[in-house]
Symmetry: C2
Subunit: 350 residues, 2 copies
């Protein structure tokens, strides 16, 4: 079958790989109908963390961790989902019954892991062997409704991650929220905050098409300024003291420092931007102002059952973050477009 392979920095191609087969009785094979490219896929695409020294991958690496598809085959211990059912996969697999899954923290599952890691398929291909299929996959009862597919696919990662940021920052009915970052995760954070009843949502971002979508998702204010100026502007908008709930959706030193700068004393930052910083900055400021830093990698599997009805019934349309679609053969163009910020988020149709 065909799958996306990362050969080295900015060298991404579709190539032939062996068809996936069941290895464990808890596996399933899913034929992928919809996949996509994540902001975090751009890090290895740019060479970060690839290979041991020179930045080039030792051998071509499978990639992609968001997909929706049809169950083709199941191991003998998989009772659900069944062959022919449409499923969405969270961006990590998990057994669904360890102590962490019981707590809703499927990303820490003792039998879990990441797509594309050693011996595990990536999501940007024609099919995927899904370990722990019963714990991992979520059936989509309506089957495959094309109009909804893009939004259903966001449950895999980006919308669930935005929701995790909001939950980690304790967003609730009537909240005042600041979202740092206007990437697909930031926009999803706006939508998730609005869904949870936030009254005031300030997005910090400077790309008008993106902040326009943020407004459609429920943002009430846009702050294009960055750094000290941006912090000052947000404080002006929030009565001088900042917002009690801040979603950090970028993952850099600067964005985290901005998050600390705009959060109200005693407030919480939900950080979901994959960290490119080694240490959390502004430690003393956060301490003396009693700022809580929460969040992390989103346990999407835990959130999908809660978010799914709102997507199925059209109350939220997180799939609007996709502004480009490519066939699997053109996946390299999708990466290029996201890397060059020409596209916000790219759908891949194998």
């Amino acid at each position: 079958m065909k799958a996306t392979l990362l050969h080295g920095p900015k060298d991404i191609r579709v190539g032939e790989v062996p068809d996936p087969t069941l290895r464990e009785s808890t596996d399933a094979i899913v034929r992928v109908t919809h996949a996509c490219i994540c902001g975090s896929d751009l890090w290895p695409y740019r060479g970060v963390g690839l290979g041991p020294d020179d930045g080039s991958a030792a051998e071509p690496q499978r990639i992609g961790h968001e997909f929706l598809g049809v169950v083709e085959e199941t191991g003998s211990d998989v009772n659900s989902p069944q062959r022919g059912e449409v499923v969405v996969s969270p961006f990590t697999f998990s057994d669904g019954n360890c102590e962490f899954c019981d707590d809703g923290l499927h990303t820490s599952c003792v039998n879990g892991g990441m797509w594309g890691s050693d011996g595990v398929d990536g999501g940007q291909g024609e099919a995927v062997r899904v370990p722990r299929a019963e714990g991992t996959l979520v059936r989509l009862p309506g089957g495959s409704d094309e109009a909804l597919s893009a939004s259903l696919l966001t449950l895999s990662d980006v919308f669930s991650t935005g929701h995790h940021a909001a939950v980690s920052a304790s967003v609730k009915q009537g909240s005042t929220v600041v979202v740092v970052g206007d990437g697909a995760v930031g926009l999803s954070g706006v939508l998730a905050s609005a869904r949870l009843g936030a009254e005031r949502i300030v997005i910090m971002g400077r790309h008008t098409p993106r902040t326009d979508l943020a407004k459609r998702f429920g943002a009430t204010d846009v702050v294009p300024e960055r750094g000290a100026e941006g912090i000052e502007r947000v404080r002006e908008l929030t009565g001088g003291h900042g917002a009690p709930h801040v979603l950090e959706c970028v993952g850099t030193d600067d964005s985290l420092a901005t998050a600390v700068g705009v959060v109200r004393d005693g407030g919480a930052i939900g950080r979901v931007g994959a960290p490119t910083y080694a240490n959390i900055p502004q430690s003393a400021e956060a301490f003396f102002r009693n700022v809580t830093i929460s969040g992390g990698v989103a346990p999407a599997r835990n959130y999908i059952p809660e978010l799914l009805p709102d997507v199925l019934e059209g109350r939220v349309q997180p799939g609007l973050v996709f502004d480009k679609a490519v066939g699997l053969d053109d996946v390299a163009d999708g990466y290029r477009a996201m890397h060059e910020r020409e596209a916000l988020k790219v759908l891949v149709r194998p």
Copy 2:
């Protein structure tokens, strides 16, 4: 009157200062009967943050932020406490009616501040001018009961700070807790956790007299090992995954890294050790394991009304952290003893 003055690194003396007088109608004058030395007083004592270049103070600096005493005089806008009443002061002053005080975050009071800062008396002296007296001071209804004085004094900072660590780490009935550090704050964190109903309390510390007191306060396990070895030992004691609730009561890079190492995925660290680190370490590990980092400077004023009855009725005895008492004239010996770890915490009797 006499007050403690810090002249330079390890040069601390009692000297004559002007008697405090009412400056604002919201002030009170408190005659200090009991004060004490805080671990955080040792930083300026050692020269950290003192003066602009050479570590020596530009002019002698007032010091001390924990005290209990008798109201001697009140400004015209102070209805309570009244002259002659015994009061305890939290380690920051606050107006009690701004939006932060309303939220219980008195350390962020818009009219608040620290003892010993510009134009504000330190607590280690014969008397103190208390700004915002009505918002700041807490009346001790029983008057001054000498047997209870030491424990009542801990409400000012150390016991309230241990309580804040436990609250910030979400300790509750039945919790498994790890306390990093066996200083007076760590021991107070043990006591506060036990008071909140924690079932298992592991203290990380290697000073037997201190860990013995920790056991008396409710610690169930003592881990003397540090670093990777200490983390390993705590994980063994907590089913392999660490504890959901960790109190960081030291404030160094190493202690915070240890806290991240011993916290269970999805758990919370309540940090109250005044940070000597610029940035919070182990950022990526905390992110991928969804560790929440909470806490900060403790809003003691918010906690005193809740903690006071248990102290007054003898259900907790936080004053056991004092293992040395000095008269005001011997305050330098108290600093020396704490600096050399000869004493855990020193009571000062003006």
